[in-house]
Symmetry: C2
């Protein structure tokens, strides 16, 4: 399996782990819908900032609206 | 290893494979820098649209500026 952990960056704070074992990340309305390999879903007002796949990390940046 | 293939979506066209075995994707100036597990780099005027990690797919959307 090739899932990753998703980290949320809020402004200049340190990235926080928001979901483990993420499979899909898709845009939805004014944010992102994350789904992990267990089928759990999470909606975040954020965009995808960067990826480090070999490290299993996805960085999301919070939208400040 | 947990790399993915990167596909670029240009407007309403079908997604095109632009790089295989991608490790990192990072924002750079007005686009993205992709680096694969072999150290090859590619710069694209695009943003990260969505992820499907278990399928090893990263979808990028071309910026139309």
């Amino acid at each position: 399996m090739c899932e990753a952990n998703a980290y949320l960056i809020i402004e200049d704070q340190e990235a926080q782990l928001v979901m483990e074992s993420v499979d899909t990340v898709e845009p939805e309305e004014d944010g992102l819908r994350l789904v992990n390999i267990f089928g759990d879903q999470k909606f975040l007002k954020a965009r995808i900032e960067s990826l480090s796949l070999v490290d299993h990390k996805v960085f999301l940046k919070a939208l400040t609206t």
